[in-house]
């Protein structure tokens, strides 16, 4: 340390380059904690004996045996159906709420609407799950199933879709609508030809986020699923039960990871890609 050439003004310990490196290295530690499991998951999916925890004997046989043991297909279709429905409804609702909130004249009203609609972001899934279960199942006496999963997932996914729409809705200049009206466009035409094309990217990105959040949801699904099985719940149960199919979970998860990553990348390009061009 004493051999390092020291500049005149770096007299204090707090200016030592170690602090800059510290920030970077701590971030690398955290990123490793995030990405080592993902990397290891991919590695294990190609390993002959994944339960040992060591890579080796590389093979693609687990991917092929996914085609033989098709128990996961039914949960996959359920998850896809729910995620598509939730995503579609989230897009419509987020567009309605997003474009209205960004143009409300009274700030207090906008803040209240946002606080109420973004509330589920700050409430753990267990509490939402319990609340919805007690309300629908015990109080109102409905049987849980796909519909209750849809509601639970929507409550979780909608705030994110709304945030994505707000990113573009807050950039939208309402004077464009004034000009359109001056030129004789009706309310629907104004929305469809002027406003929607400008909001579209945020809406689609919000829809993709909603799809992924619903598709991967576990915390609320446990309470709301009734007898229905979604793919994450199926995988979770297989993993927790130490069943012999646990090896297939690695390859299945890798396929889901790849699909999810592609969708996220696409959503981000829609949301932020145009700014950097």
């Amino acid at each position: 340390m004493s051999n390092l050439p020291t500049k005149v003004y770096t007299a204090t310990w707090s200016e030592h380059p170690v602090w800059k490196n510290l920030g970077l290295s701590l971030g690398i530690v955290a990123l490793l904690l995030i990405y080592i499991p993902i990397f290891w998951l991919v590695l294990m999916s190609f390993t002959g004996d994944p339960l040992s925890g060591f890579p080796g004997n590389f093979t693609t046989k687990w991917y092929f045996s996914l085609g033989e043991h098709r128990n996961w297909l039914q949960p996959l279709f359920v998850s896809l159906a729910i995620a598509s429905g939730v995503s579609l409804v989230s897009m419509v609702c987020a567009t309605i709420v997003g474009r209205t909130v960004s143009r409300l004249r009274r700030k207090a009203m906008a803040v209240t609407v946002l606080a109420v609609t973004l509330l589920p972001l700050a409430i753990p899934g267990v509490i939402i799950g319990t609340a919805l279960f007690l309300y629908f199942r015990v109080l109102l006496g409905f049987k849980m199933g796909v519909w209750s999963l849809c509601i639970g997932h929507f409550v979780w996914a909608f705030p994110f879709a709304l945030l994505a729409v707000l990113v573009v809705a807050l950039r939208f200049d309402p004077r464009l609508l004034d000009s359109a009206a001056d030129l004789g466009a009706g309310p629907f035409e104004r929305f469809w030809t002027i406003e929607f094309p400008l909001l579209k990217d945020g809406v689609i990105a919000g829809g993709l986020f909603a799809f992924l959040l619903s598709f991967n949801e576990i915390a609320r699904s446990i309470y709301l699923k009734g007898r229905t099985e979604t793919l994450p719940v199926y995988i979770w149960q297989q993993a927790a039960s130490h069943s012999s199919h646990v090896v297939l979970i690695y390859s299945l998860n890798v396929l889901i990871l790849i699909a999810s990553t592609l969708l996220v990348g696409f959503a981000f390009r829609l949301l932020f890609g145009k700014n950097t061009q």
Binding site: I96, A131, I151
Partner: protein, 297 residues
């Protein structure tokens, strides 16, 4: 066409949002508020009875559930603290330490993508890594750090804490990054020009201005962690029971009012944390900024 028939064009139709908010209250707000009511009901023969009492709360405190609450809060606080230690220097580096835009965007994307990936998939792998015969134990033994495999690496508080750090790191970094990024570079330069040491600048300029971000980070990290069900189940292996598993077991034995009471206890703790965090951050911001003119030369 007479001008009087023209509507002001930017006037927005409120019908859609009103319908949405009504259904939102029916599907979300009323059920959440209903938890409070449930928690005061008494259970008789697995059925709730309209007999308001504090019975459910007494049961929460009398049974082992209180320990579960304390354990959950302890683990969540510890992990939140670890996240601050990891994320604050990192956010500082990310917003002020590097000028490389491509690197910044890559890091931000790397932090965002895992959020949309299945948490159970990312958590299951720790089992293979940390197991008795797993690579971590093998590496430690091969290098002679330990003689026999460590049995506390998996299915212990350690593995739960380790498993929680990764998934809850981005929620701490993002608010911190956003708030530090908003600080004007010229303000930091001015602070240095006026003779402040970097430590002084950090303590009296950056930290007070980053405090809203820190508060938001604490809320977005601590709050969902309290209710996390995936990590403690998969990595606790039944040895580390946290609140979510406790609520789930209560619902399974149809003890609805105690489950509701436990949820209300959780909610109150969270509201408490949110209040304390926002109070402290407003106080720090006002006291620091009022103290600043006196100490700057």
């Amino acid at each position: 066409m007479g001008l009087s028939t023209l509507q002001p064009p930017t006037k927005i139709n409120l019908k859609g949002i009103v319908i949405f908010l009504l259904s939102w209250s029916f599907f979300v707000l009323i059920p959440i508020a209903g938890l409070l009511l449930w928690s005061f009901l008494t259970m008789e023969n697995f059925r709730p009875v309209w007999d308001l009492s504090l019975q459910a709360y007494r049961e929460v405190f009398a049974s082992g559930r209180w320990e579960v609450t304390a354990r959950t809060l302890g683990i969540a606080s510890l992990v939140t603290l670890l996240e601050i230690v990891l994320a604050l220097p990192f956010a500082l580096w990310l917003s002020k330490g590097t000028k490389n835009m491509g690197l910044k965007i890559t890091v931000l994307a790397a932090l965002t993508i895992p959020f949309f990936l299945s948490l159970s998939a990312r958590t299951i792998v720790w089992r293979a890594l940390l197991g008795l015969h797993g690579p971590v134990n093998y590496a430690l033994m091969a290098t002679g750090v330990i003689d026999g495999p460590l049995d506390w690496l998996l299915f212990s508080q350690f593995s739960v804490i380790l498993g929680l750090i990764g998934p809850y790191f981005p929620t701490m970094v993002f608010p911190l990054y956003l708030s530090i990024n908003l600080i004007d570079d010229e303000m930091l330069a001015a602070s240095t020009d006026l003779g402040a040491t970097p430590g002084f600048t950090f303590w009296h300029v950056i930290l007070p201005l980053a405090f809203p971000g820190l508060g938001a980070g604490i809320i977005f990290t601590f709050v969902p962690m309290i209710g996390d069900s995936v990590v403690p189940t998969l990595l606790g292996g039944g040895h580390v029971i946290l609140l979510s598993a406790s609520v789930e077991s209560l619902l399974r034995i149809l003890n609805y009012s105690v489950a509701a009471a436990l949820s209300v206890v959780m909610l109150s703790i969270m509201v408490g944390v949110i209040l304390v965090v926002s109070l402290v951050s407003t106080k720090i911001i006002t006291s620091k900024s009022s103290a600043l003119p006196e100490v700057t030369p």
